[in-house]
Chain length 212, copies 2
């Protein structure tokens, strides 16, 4: 009984996600669903990417509570809307559909959706995005791909952020890479630091490739 | 309809949690539910605490997948059992009840339950524990109490881990403390480093106070 209800919820979500996807494709907007643990650097990545991409961008910010991240993005003078989920641990396609009505997307080429900070639930809900990415960060440890296999298998790119503090952390980058490639063999892994800007160029090139 | 089903699930969980709680009380076992983001240092805290507490301890490890953490704990020669949740983003009371049957608890005084790495879902499920704690870590940033208010309001103690890398991170400790105290006025905040051992003594004293 319980499983049936959950399945219906997922089906309903997938229908709205398909609507969203059609809208993005006809509008020529590349939408990227950015997922991560709390504090891995989703907002920092989006802020850095807005500068480095140098194209018209919009942002949807998802959080359980607060508007801190949307306020930071608004300082970049790009269209932004905040979704507060109340208690829910992920964004869903209907929330995105509603948020689209609040954004001026006329000239927008890239839409970044910052999901709720969580390595579990967001991986299960399609939003209609062109690409899913996960931001993992060095202080979280090299075991994350082994512990959250669904997330790492669901994504089109992996960002490894906070490379600048690698000298102060016990982190085996070979073990991390092996873990990612064990479940998602060809996924690109971008090693970057949103603090120093190191490694952003390859990530931005990859993003530009999505628009082709 | 959906809400009703979810509510029934929660009620069923609470009944089993009450059973667990009674078992712990009659057995004289202090049970601590350890919650955190992925990679905040739950396992490191448990390992350090086993050494510092110097009393008979058992551990239940919760993860979506893998047994890495249970293997680390087993090296301490304490009873340990691993729960793999499959895809679920939190532990529930029935999983704990089943795990208790797998553990030799005869002389045990403290049972640590390491929940799934997630700042959202675990806060909503009682396990029958004596105390709930959250491990937050410096690299996650000082905004976590504002973004995950349910978690920070639900706990009996807050650990701020990875104090040793404070010099390399932009972290406003006053903002963090203010955020915690704004939603959970009297909760103790223990600033520690599981790497260096800094600050563990106050935390261990607090744990000993739970047994009184």
């Amino acid at each position: 009984m319980k499983i049936k209800v959950v399945k219906n919820v997922m089906d309903a979500n997938d229908q709205v996600a398909s609507d969203n996807r059609r809208f993005f494709e006809t509008s020529g907007i590349v939408t990227v669903n950015v997922m991560a643990s709390p504090g891995a650097g989703k907002t920092s990545l989006i802020l850095r990417t807005i500068d480095a991409l140098n194209m018209p961008v919009a942002v949807i910010e998802g959080d359980i509570a607060s508007t801190f991240d949307a306020e930071k993005v608004a300082e970049k003078k790009v269209p932004v809307v905040q979704i507060n989920t109340g208690g829910a641990c992920h964004l869903d396609a209907s929330q995105i559909k509603n948020a689209l009505g609040e954004l001026n997307l006329k000239t927008v080429k890239y839409l970044f959706i910052e999901n709720v900070g969580n390595l579990v639930c967001p991986a299960e809900f399609r939003l209609g995005e062109r690409a899913k990415i996960v931001v993992s960060s060095v202080p979280e440890g090299d075991d994350k791909p082994y512990k959250y296999p669904l997330m790492f298998s669901a994504v089109d790119a992996v960002i490894l952020n906070k490379m600048d503090i690698m000298p102060y952390i016990d982190f085996d980058i070979k073990r991390f890479r092996k873990g990612v490639q064990g479940i998602n063999r060809k996924v690109p892994i971008f090693e970057i630091s949103c603090k120093t800007g190191e490694g952003l160029d390859r990530w931005v090139d990859w993003l530009k490739g999505l628009a082709v």
